[in-house]
């Protein structure tokens, strides 16, 4: 039995809600290069929580929420202040502000602990997912449909749900403005949207989400969820809408996946469960690493494949063009070593084999020559090369002895050079377009 209603339902729900909430808001932090602001806020809400507690002497969620939100906004303002008036580098300014505030929080928490309170610096970091146990859970899933279920829902989950709904409302209502302000704050301001105000609104939401998630999942998961899902989605798409939807799905996936890795995997080795918040964080890191490697558009692997493909195409082009030029010098056949010298490759054999396999060149008694198909392809490449040379001299005003290198690059690219005369600047014949006989 991997899923136990009593043990797993509420923690899983809390983790998923927190992850989705932070993942959603994190997108905009990422775009504004403010990801570390999430980190700063989640450190500095600590004094906010404690001060709110010391003043109001209660741990009611509303008081905590207000205290933490104020602390979050104060952090943003202070960072801005230190950056602007102290002329401190942004990263350092953030580091100074949040570490001072966090230290203040740590000291105050000791003070609060004196008053017999279970405010605890440790659970601020790890969260208390595992304490959301539902002792009187029904035995089966169908037993959930009753009034008792509603009563049993822990308040952390209720707070999280409210914040999530508000955050979704905020993002969907102000999507256009947020998008504009994220990509071009100056333009947004000139168009009449106060991008600073919007920024602060976003920060308020981040602070609220942080503190709502906090009690359930701990600050480390909050930081991870503010950054990782958005970053992962950013590597998969170039469209903001898609990125947001993807990031929410990824956040949900990592929450569920990470939670079950924490409860199930240790069991395989006969061990007790590990901390779920930490495990979700690690899981989101794994998902991100995997995406970095295999993302179809921006992954390391796909970029590598694209690069290899391109360089092999260029090599083939160069081979054909070289043989064509040799042919012009009345050398219809070339040996492998001739080719190796001409195209500056010490080991031309794999390239030659590939060309033979594609029926672009043929081999006869150790000598290579262009086939009919190879002739066509080579003519097309040389034609482009010489047309580009002509264009560069004629239109771009370059000296004739300087255009070869540029044309050597341009000939491999898709754009077709404009038609020109019969000969190139060096007086060589520009071959006819093989496609138009």
């Amino acid at each position: 039995m991997y899923f136990d209603l009593a043990l797993d339902l509420f923690p899983l729900l809390a983790a998923a809600l927190a992850a989705v909430c932070c993942g959603l808001l994190g997108n905009f932090l990422l775009l504004r290069k403010q990801s570390m602001m999430g980190d700063a806020i989640s450190h500095s809400v600590l004094p906010g929580l404690v001060i709110a507690f010391l003043i109001a002497s209660t741990r009611s969620p509303l008081v905590m929420l207000v205290g933490a939100t104020i602390a979050g906004v104060v952090t943003v303002v202070l960072v801005e202040f230190v950056k602007r008036f102290g002329k401190v580098e942004p990263g350092a300014a953030m580091g100074v502000v949040f570490s001072i505030l966090f230290a203040l929080g740590v000291l105050l928490i000791e003070k609060a602990a004196v008053r017999h309170v279970d405010l605890d610096a440790e659970c601020v970091l790890h969260g208390q997912l595992e304490t959301l146990v539902w002792y009187s859970a029904p035995a089966t899933i169908s037993g959930l449909w009753s009034v008792e279920t509603l009563d049993a829902i822990p308040r952390q989950i209720i707070t999280l749900t409210i914040i999530l709904i508000l955050a979704i409302g905020f993002v969907s209502l102000l999507f256009k403005e947020l998008r504009l302000a994220s990509f071009d704050p100056a333009l947004a301001t000139t168009l009449g949207f106060n991008s600073t105000l919007l920024h602060y609104l976003l920060m308020i939401f981040v602070a609220a989400a942080t503190v709502a998630s906090f009690e359930a999942v701990g600050s480390i998961l909050v930081i991870a969820m503010l950054i990782c899902p958005g970053a992962t989605a950013r590597l998969l798409t170039d469209r903001l809408r898609t990125q947001i939807v993807l990031s929410v799905l990824i956040a949900l996936f990592t929450a569920v996946g990470g939670y079950f890795s924490a409860t199930i995997i240790p069991g395989w080795f006969g061990r007790d469960t590990v901390n779920a918040a930490g495990s979700i964080t690690v899981f989101s890191g794994l998902v991100l690493s995997l995406t970095i490697i295999i993302s179809p558009s921006h992954g390391i692997l796909s970029r590598m494949i694209r690069r290899i493909r391109l360089s092999s195409r260029v090599a083939l082009d160069d081979l054909l063009a070289t043989m064509y030029r040799a042919q012009e010098q009345a050398q219809a056949e070339m040996s492998a070593s001739d080719i190796s010298d001409a195209i500056l490759r010490s080991k031309p054999q794999p390239l030659l084999n590939r060309a033979v396999k594609r029926a672009l060149i043929q081999r006869h008694r150790g000598m290579y020559s262009l086939t009919e198909k190879g002739q066509c392809a080579a003519r097309s490449i040389v034609r482009r090369h010489r047309l580009w040379e002509h264009y560069l001299v004629d239109q771009a005003g370059l000296a004739p002895d300087h255009v070869h290198e540029t044309a050597e690059r341009l000939e491999h690219l898709p754009p077709v050079p404009p038609a020109g005369p019969q000969t190139d600047p060096q007086g060589k014949v520009i071959p006819d377009d093989p496609q138009v006989p």
Binding site: D4, L30, S35, M36, G38, D39, G86, K87, V88, E89, G91, A92, M94, G95, V96, S99, I100, A103, L104, V106, L107, E110, K111, A113, V114, D118, D120, A121, E122, L125, H126, Q128, E130, T131, V133, G218, I220, L221, I223, A224, I227, C228, A231, R234, L235, P266, D272, T273, V274, N275, A277, G278, S279, I280, T281, V282, S284, G285, I292, H298
Partner: protein, 459 residues
């Protein structure tokens, strides 16, 4: 099927049971602790922490100049999984699993790994530095927390103590640990002072350093290694969340006081050492004051004071400079107005009118009058009028002439339409130097352009 009981984190349980009060220690206790006489152990801890603060302050300067402040944050968070792994696997290599050197080696390994991951993410993806740092920080720390919870639930033997690496616990350090921390700090200090020239050149102009044949990559690596050393040394005393602020805050605070690197290193080191010393002292005197937090708050206070009070770069100094420039410009305008209206006094009505036109607040008017009086430009004030002194009139004439000169220059040399020159002239007429005025006169004379006669005529 193993047991699946929820793990509860209640490190504070013992606090709730016993009543703890914040009692002030006796005066003699305080003096003993401050002067290193409160027992061998306490003295060692205080001295070691001060040394650590010195090292962090010194090497932190280079991290700041290299814009790596937040990178050190990722580094320090990334040490946690290393500590737990070292704890778990030390036994398999036949080592004492709770021995500090073993744990610190583990910490350095994952710390460095974290920094490498940040670089890899930056190099291979389009994510920015802030995101890369945040990712590494949270994921590595999350892994550390998984490790901690695994150890608490599964590892045999006592695993307390490991938690101390998060928030630090200077007071309970053993002498051996302090000696280790102190010697690491000492090594870092010596190395930094020895390689200061190399660090400086790489920090200020790495492109030049590379062209000049310095091994920039190597120097950078060495700098990072020193940061790792200091971070790891500080883990036990200060805790991994706050050790990074010992590297960030002192140099940022010191930066307000000086523009010279050697002085910066000195001041930053002093700030670091002071906060280390005070932090350890306070936490030795009060049972419930964690050293890390006190150290950071001490450094934080010095930072706030520096930021506001520093003579040249401080916020106040800056504000005063700005206001005084505005007052000077406004005073010049006033004198120019008096000169151009060809009077030697300024009636109160006239002054009020002019002030309204310029939009000066009453306070600002007072400031202007005060400044001009102090410079002997304005004389005594009666109910009706303000007397303008000889010097004041001369100043007004000079400003007026500068105005005209610059206006001519813009029209004849900078191709600006006559109707557009006045605004920029208003800004610049106050800052023309004598050499520039002389040059302008020559240029305009050569051009055959008319300009107001020299001041000798105005007298």
């Amino acid at each position: 099927m193993p047991l699946r009981i929820p793990i509860l984190f209640h490190a504070n349980m013992q606090h709730s049971i016993q009543e703890v009060t914040d009692e002030w220690p006796r005066m003699s206790e305080i003096i003993e602790t401050v002067t290193f006489r409160a027992g061998y152990n306490t003295g060692m801890v205080i001295g070691g922490t001060a040394l650590l603060g010195l090292a962090a302050g010194i090497i932190g300067v280079f991290a700041l100049l290299r814009k790596r402040s937040l990178m050190t944050d990722a580094l320090s968070h990334a040490t946690l999984p290393g500590i737990t792994l070292a704890f778990l696997f030390a036994g398999t290599f036949g080592l004492e699993s709770k021995s500090l050197p073993v744990l610190l080696v583990g910490a350095s390994v994952t710390g460095v790994l974290g920094v490498i991951c940040v670089q890899l993410i930056l190099h291979h993806t389009r994510l920015r530095e802030d995101a890369a740092i945040g990712i590494v920080l949270s994921v590595f720390f999350g892994a550390g927390i998984v490790g901690l919870s695994y150890i608490q639930a599964n590892a045999p033997g006592d695993s307390g103590g490991l938690n101390h690496f998060i928030y630090g616990q200077a007071a309970t350090m053993r002498v051996g640990d302090v000696v280790l921390m102190g010697s690491i700090a000492l090594v870092a200090i010596m190395a930094t002072l020895l390689f200061m020239k190399e660090f400086a050149i790489v920090c200020f102009n790495d492109a030049f350093a590379r062209v000049d044949g310095w091994p920039v990559g190597l120097v950078d690596l060495f700098m990072m290694a020193l940061v790792v050393l200091v971070t790891v040394a500080g883990l036990q005393a200060v805790g991994l969340i706050l050790v990074v602020s010992m590297l960030i805050i002192p140099p940022v605070a010191a930066r307000f006081w000086t523009d010279r690197l050697s002085v910066l290193v000195l001041i930053s080191g002093i700030i670091g050492a002071t906060s280390g010393y005070l932090g350890a002292t306070v936490s030795a005197l009060f049972p419930r004051k964690p050293a890390g937090a006190v150290i950071v708050l001490t450094a934080g206070c010095i930072f706030v004071l520096s930021m506001f009070l520093a003579p040249k770069r401080g916020v106040f100094a800056h504000a005063i400079r700005r206001v005084s420039v505005r007052v000077k410009v406004a005073g010049d305008h006033l004198l120019e107005h008096v000169y151009e209206s060809r009077q030697s006094t300024l009636t109160s009505d006239d002054f009020a009118n002019f002030a309204r036109m310029q939009g000066w607040s009453p306070l600002f008017q007072l400031l202007i009058r005060f400044a001009l009086r102090r410079e002997n430009m304005l004389g005594s004030k009666t109910r009706r009028e303000i007397r303008v002194t000889e010097a004041g009139l001369e100043r007004g004439a000079r400003v007026s002439r500068n105005h005209a000169l610059w206006e001519q220059y813009l029209v004849s040399h900078a191709d600006i339409a006559p109707s557009h020159v006045d605004w920029s002239v208003d800004m610049v007429e106050h800052v023309l130097s004598d050499e520039l005025i002389h040059e302008l006169e020559t240029a305009l004379r050569n051009q055959g352009v008319d300009f107001p006669p020299s001041l000798e005529g105005v007298g």
